[in-house]
Symmetry: C2
Amino acid sequence: MSNESLELIEQQVTDFIRRIILTEKRHDNLDRSAYILLRQLSSYGPAGVKSLAADLHLDISTVSRQAAALVEKKYVEKVANPIDRRAYFYQITELGLNELEENKRRRYHRLAGILEEWTEDEKEKFGHLLQKYNQTVNQKMNRKE
Amino acid sequence: MSNESLELIEQQVTDFIRRIILTEKRHDNLDRSAYILLRQLSSYGPAGVKSLAADLHLDISTVSRQAAALVEKKYVEKVANPIDRRAYFYQITELGLNELEENKRRRYHRLAGILEEWTEDEKEKFGHLLQKYNQTVNQKMNRKE
DNA sequence: CCTCATTATTGTATGATACAACTAAATTCG
DNA sequence: CGAATTTAGTTGTATCATACAATAATGAGG
């Protein structure tokens, strides 16, 4: 059993994650969680905490707080659901969209700086392998749980 | 300017990180931070909080607490530095080593499960691209800061 | 309508982290 | 030498991310 790649991946992944999270904290306006939530709302449209929590693999209470924080900042609006009066939709605002785009730009720019000497092929492969990893995990998770 | 790979990487990275951190919390005995600190001590030998903090890109106070927690669990020993009586070395114990190895196995096993259908070539490339990313970031950081 | 399920919020707890204040020891320099 | 400064480490306080448990309000099925 060839463990070499496995060990390399495992080691590199821990470093990779630490580094990215620390860098984000230093340079980004939006918190990581806020960024991800806004991105979700922007990409997939308004949703309630339950479905957001499911999509983001988080606890409902976590999303509830994060959404409340975004409402506080006027980045999202909490819209009552007329059909089910327990439920709400969180909808990204103009302001939220602007902030999201601003942060995306910043992130892309930073990433571009890091990868500036990579070949197009490397970047392409890296993106696809990360994607493949995520897809694999999703598939496996859906089969279990 | 071809942004496609960049955007893919950026998106996939956020998901990748979230997923891994959540999975770790569910399945691992050691906290992420404890794992990384133990791995550091095991790979590079005893060290004080200052140098550990530098190596791990963390604040000294953060490492101080993490190290204290490991001492508490008997995974490391705090050894006085006879030359400089302000300073200490943290040294991994037998127990700590066992716990580390146990956790490594667990992590490798989980990763192996996820990547079981990947080709050897894909795994190899993925590991190297992650490594390359980390090295690139290190180089750029050393040039600045 | 009464019970049970569901949507969301809030209380409480933990982990990871940083900055600032502090202690004790070492170093430097007049 | 001795005062002033620097250095290694710890501890207080604060923030963010997260989960689990308890609770409130509403909906749905018999």
